[in-house]
């Protein structure tokens, strides 16, 4: 099969275009495909445009309560991060946060978005060792309390007593 564009070189790149349910096949040589494709790099994965997908998630608000949404959007129009200057509007278009301060500035809008993406909004994982401070100890206490309940259920009272003492020690550290 020869290239449909130059009619000279063999067609090695084959596309299927679907526009309004109409399917067309295009057969091009590598050179013409590159020229026609513009920025498309056939050797590198172009990736799924996650930002469109996320903007879609943000749009869900519209269908839920359009009046409230428009009111919020009116206010959020003016929302802008004082550190990196990203506006809320820009964020909703590109789905990228500009800096750690954006999280504080956009928090009201971010919470429902994070809930839609992850189902939950509370971090349960690792806490930085050096800068995590008390949170690390608090998380450890939480885990140990769960372990304590498990031990009591299993009637492993000796181990439960050990855990109880360790929890006390950690709680003293917090004070």
């Amino acid at each position: 099969m020869t290239c449909e564009e130059c009619n000279k070189r063999p067609a090695t790149v084959h596309f299927t275009k679907i526009i309004n349910n109409e399917k067309t096949e295009v057969h091009l040589c590598e050179k013409c495909a590159k020229e026609k494709g513009g920025d498309l790099d056939f050797n590198v994965d172009p990736g799924f445009p996650i930002n469109h997908f996320l903007s879609g998630l943000m749009d869900v608000d519209k269908s839920l309560d359009s009046k409230q949404f428009n009111k919020d959007l009116g206010q959020s129009d003016k929302l802008q991060c004082g550190k990196c200057n990203l506006t809320y509007n820009q964020f909703s278009q590109i789905s990228r946060l500009g800096c750690s301060n954006c999280f504080t500035v956009f928090s009201k809008h971010l919470n429902p978005l994070l809930k839609r993406i992850h189902g939950k909004t509370s971090h349960m994982g690792k806490v930085p060792k050096r800068t995590g401070g008390n949170l690390r100890v608090k998380k450890r206490i939480g885990e140990m309390k769960e372990e304590l309940q498990e031990c009591i259920k299993r009637e492993e009272f000796e181990r439960a007593a050990e855990i109880r003492d360790e929890i006390r020690k950690l709680e003293n550290e917090l004070d």
Partner: protein
């Protein structure tokens, strides 16, 4: 240089070993996304900011108590376009980092099992890659490098939301763990779509060999966690491992089924693939991947005792366009690459086990 030596040099050293469950799992990867406090994320950062990120992280790694081992820092802008593509094909950097020269860089350990991408979508992306199914080990290493860097830089972290990342899909643990599975049995028995849609329903993502948006070639799929917030790293890894083990079981059963129902048919398919790869002169990536998958299955099931079962792992990366051009030391047209690819496979298939 002999081909054997070339493969040893060109493929990452971490791929030399063959890891647990390597009949079904090609590799395991864990990635942690981190950002520095008070510095705009890379897409908004100025040159001074991005340069500071590279400098600070590089120094943090040098200063850190545990150490990363032999490693080097490569600035993307210093790499030739072809070398960037080679690194993408080896999964060491992302296509985004390869395209972006605004002070982006990679710190890579000598064996290439650990790499740290700097100024990609996030300031820092720590990545650990191991052969076979080794989720705990990959996380343990990533976790250590994370602690090492955090000894001297301040991360963007929030008590409620965890690690603050550029994209909301990574917020929380910032962790993406994935396994690359070879599932020819499920494909041949026509069960793959049913199995993969079930996987999707438990909140895991299924993708092709080169991540988001890529199709499944060579019967290889990548399975990874989608949710990063509200679950601990341990929970995420346990779930991924659990589902992977189920897929391994299903694949094992499918292979047994194929054997029982038509050993001759299976041996024929494997033998034909071996024959085609042994004598083909022109071959595309996708065709090669399909045939290599059959040959690898033939090795796993004992039909092809003379072929080294690592063949698929070796060639997975080496037959890709940029790697072929790097090997040829010149640019190649698509047709030239198809010829080069066939040559490389013919030579590789004749490297006997333990040779």
């Amino acid at each position: 240089m002999t081909l054997k030596k070339y493969i040893e040099d060109a493929s990452a050293k971490w791929m030399e070993g063959s890891g647990p469950d390597s009949k079904y799992v090609i590799s395991t990867r864990v990635r942690l996304a981190r950002n520095l406090k008070d510095i705009p994320h890379p897409f908004l950062a100025g040159d001074n900011d991005t340069e500071k990120v590279v400098k600070d992280v590089n120094e943090a790694i040098k200063r850190g108590s545990a150490g990363l081992g032999e490693h080097k820092l490569l600035w993307t802008r210093d790499l030739e376009p072809i070398d960037r593509k080679v690194l993408v094909e080896k999964h060491l950097i992302s296509p985004l980092l390869a395209k972006e020269d605004r002070n982006s860089a990679i710190i890579v350990r000598e064996d290439q099992a650990i790499s740290v991408m700097l100024n990609e979508e996030d300031h820092i992306r720590i990545q650990c890659l191991f052969p076979g199914l080794q989720l705990d080990k990959a996380f343990e290493y990533a976790d250590q490098i994370d602690d090492l860097i955090e000894e001297s830089v301040d991360y963007a972290f929030d008590e409620e939301w965890g690690y603050l990342t550029t994209c909301p899909t990574n917020v929380g643990t910032g962790m993406r763990a994935s396994v690359m599975l070879h599932l020819p049995g499920l494909v041949m028995t026509g069960q793959i779509n049913r199995v993969l849609s079930a996987v999707g329903q438990v909140g895991l993502a299924v993708r092709g060999l080169y991540g988001e948006g890529t199709e499944m070639v060579g019967n290889i799929v990548q399975l990874s966690n989608q949710i990063t917030l509200g679950q601990s790293e341990k929970d995420i890894l346990e779930k991924l491992e659990g589902v992977t083990r189920q897929l391994i079981d299903q694949e094992e059963k499918a292979r047994e089924d194929l054997l029982q129902k038509g050993e001759e048919k299976l041996a024929d398919k494997v033998g034909r693939a071996y024959g085609q790869l042994s004598y083909a002169r022109i071959i595309s990536t996708n065709e090669a991947m399909g045939l290599l998958s059959s040959v690898r299955l033939g090795c796993d099931m004992g039909f092809l005792k003379e072929v080294d079962s690592k063949i698929l792992n070796d060639l997975l990366v080496l037959i890709r366009p940029a790697n072929l051009q790097k090997m040829a030391e010149k640019e190649l047209t698509s047709e030239e690459r198809d010829i080069k690819r066939a040559n490389l496979i013919r030579e590789r298939i004749n490297i006997k086990k333990d040779a």
